[in-house]
């Protein structure tokens, strides 16, 4: 039953991340330090339906999710999974005040809008490709 003086949980064998505290709404930077997106939501592996067996393995984070999921996170509702834009957890190299990826942003689904605006609008305006002077 509930104890009245709370004890410290068993020590963790790795970095501790509370989702709301350390992961959600943090900036995601790619391998070169260029921002890609924010952590709008997190996808974990499935939890058993109904009563969970006593020795069931805990779910793990499968992906950082971004895109339209931000709207449902703020206003409520449920997005069909096909609309998730995912960055697989295996692309993440570290989590500190920002989430750093081990890959370049160019390769990711998550940077599609940036690439579209770049290619269809910004590239067409003279001077866009040059460094500021």
């Amino acid at each position: 039953m509930r104890s009245h003086r709370l004890t410290t949980p068993p020590p963790a064998a790795g970095q501790v991340l509370d989702a709301q505290l350390s992961l959600l709404d943090r900036q995601v930077l790619d391998r070169t330090g260029v921002p890609v997106t924010t952590v709008d939501d997190i996808e974990v592996s499935d939890v058993p339906e109904g009563a969970i067996p006593v020795d069931a393995a805990p779910p793990v984070i499968t992906a950082i999710v971004t895109g339209p999921v931000l709207a449902t996170r703020i206003f409520g509702g449920r997005l069909p999974e096909s609309r998730y834009i995912r960055i697989p957890w295996s692309d993440v190299s570290s989590v500190e005040t920002v989430v750093r990826l081990g890959v370049d942003g160019e390769a990711l689904d998550a940077s599609w809008t940036e690439r579209w605006v770049r290619d269809h609008i910004i590239r067409r305006i003279p001077g866009g490709r040059h460094d500021p002077e």
Binding site: P9, V16, L17, Q20, D41, E43, P58, W89, D91, V92
Partner: protein
Amino acid sequence: MILSDLMGSRVEGSDGERLGTLIDVRFVIDGNPRQLLADARLEGIVVSPRSRASYLGYDRKDMNAPALIAHFLRRRHRGTFFVLWADIERVERGGVRLRSEFTAYDPRWSARVTG
């Protein structure tokens, strides 16, 4: 499963009594090692009996100033506890149910505790 479905959901004991709201989910990066980081395993959930609002970072042991704000937020969230994955009986759209003999742990933690 997507985490925003879980955040803010009702947490109840095995007899259905309301224990609080799920305000955070704790992961530990100690699962199977991958190329960059190991798997982030769900260690447990943080439940607040009084408030659904954010703790604004003051649930960490090293966050203590300004004193007035820290004090106000900790009062608002007093009674918050942490429950391990093993003590969760079921997870549904309507809420989370804990096992009858769950242990409530201290939710506060300091940065990186390595074993």
